[in-house]
Symmetry: C2
Subunit: 228 residues, 2 copies
């Protein structure tokens, strides 16, 4: 059904157990059949680890807050979905017909899940070395181009973006703080006119928590656009 050889060429990896690759491409819309959600759960943690250690080594001068913000950008669904598109996984996804008619192959969540599941499958099939090599290749350009600087100003980026859309300004609210003077954690919400849900984030300072909340809104806006 799927042209396994073509997928393997795109991945630059040859499976010992090709059923793992098929499973990784099985969308959860296939009711009653095995799907890729367990592999996605596994792949998610592998990618998190890969990106964490890559950024740790690439940016020895950055603190954990900046590293965490950069990691969030590299592992969010829109990024994973674009990597899936590079591999043309959209072409190979096994989906229920209703989902297909619904433009399912272009859905960000389906693409992101398939990328994570493929990473999980390569790990199970070939071990940590194989999956690291795969992720090295996929993330090479993103890791080369990523800049910590821009990240510091998620609030500004959010504000500019909302003004472009003729919306009003985001509203930040401190929901709470925990801990003693030296180890405070702030919880902040960011609400945006026109979006019903509030975005909540944590940080070691009010400002850091606000930046993180703004970053979450930006990610959600990105996903919205890609899903449209």
């Amino acid at each position: 059904m799927i042209d396994i050889d073509a997928v393997e060429r795109a991945l630059d990896y040859r499976f010992n157990h090709r059923d793992l690759l098929c499973l990784a491409l099985s969308h959860r819309s296939n009711m009653g059949l095995p799907n890729n959600q367990r592999l996605e759960y596994l792949g998610d943690s592998i990618i998190g680890f890969f990106i964490s250690q890559s950024l740790y080594r690439l940016f020895p001068q950055l603190n954990e807050g900046d590293l965490t913000a950069m990691r969030a950008r590299l592992v969010r669904n829109t990024t994973l979905a674009s990597l899936a598109r590079e591999l043309r996984l959209d072409k190979y996804l096994i989906m229920a017909s209703g989902e297909l008619k619904n433009n399912g192959r272009n859905r960000v969540s389906a693409l992101a899940d398939s990328f994570e599941a493929v990473a999980g499958a390569i790990y199970l099939d070939g071990g940590i070395e194989s999956v690291n090599q795969f992720l090295d290749g996929m993330y090479r350009t993103l890791l080369k181009d990523i800049q910590p600087r821009g990240l510091k100003d998620s609030k500004t980026r959010l504000q500019e973006r909302l003004q472009k859309d003729d919306s009003l300004l985001p509203v930040y609210r401190v929901l709470g703080q925990e801990g003693e003077a030296h180890s405070l954690t702030f919880e902040v919400s960011c609400s945006v006119p026109g979006i019903k849900r509030a975005f909540i984030a944590h940080g070691r300072s009010r400002k850091a928590a606000e930046q993180a909340a703004a970053e979450r809104v930006l990610s959600a806006l990105d996903e919205q656009e890609c899903d449209d």
Copy 2:
């Protein structure tokens, strides 16, 4: 200053670069000095990966929702802090004097951070094999004893716990839902009388999201008790 030999015996690991171990034990209250927060960021992702793949292999019949819930219990701060106590890391934490006076050695967040940072340090020092071996030893009992069953009923456990405390019942509210019929995600908040913040969680069904939100409240209540 620290008895490195004693710590290494507790960890059952001998460092090639002992400065990594010292860094892992340096609390962020040491203003202006290097601290363990970057190592904690790294260790967090290593532990997440270790637990994810352990649960994946241990419970081949469980879906990703149950696996995610179990992982949350194994990597939450109270669990990490108790592992740190087993290693007696509280004795060896390097802290500012103000933090020490403030009972800093017993703070859950400080202990959890130190455990994660030690895992990060072992990874940098000895590679993935060494840190997996370390985590295998530390998590052996927890992984042997963990039961998926109990997890399904976080709402019940929360309700029982609140009634014991003479509080009122938790209130669940659906904040929103996203996606099409086959790939819905629900966002639910859980509010508890007496706790100012709301706990928000996501799930593939309303019920799953409510269970996840209840689990978050339980974790927060655990941490509160340990910090008291």
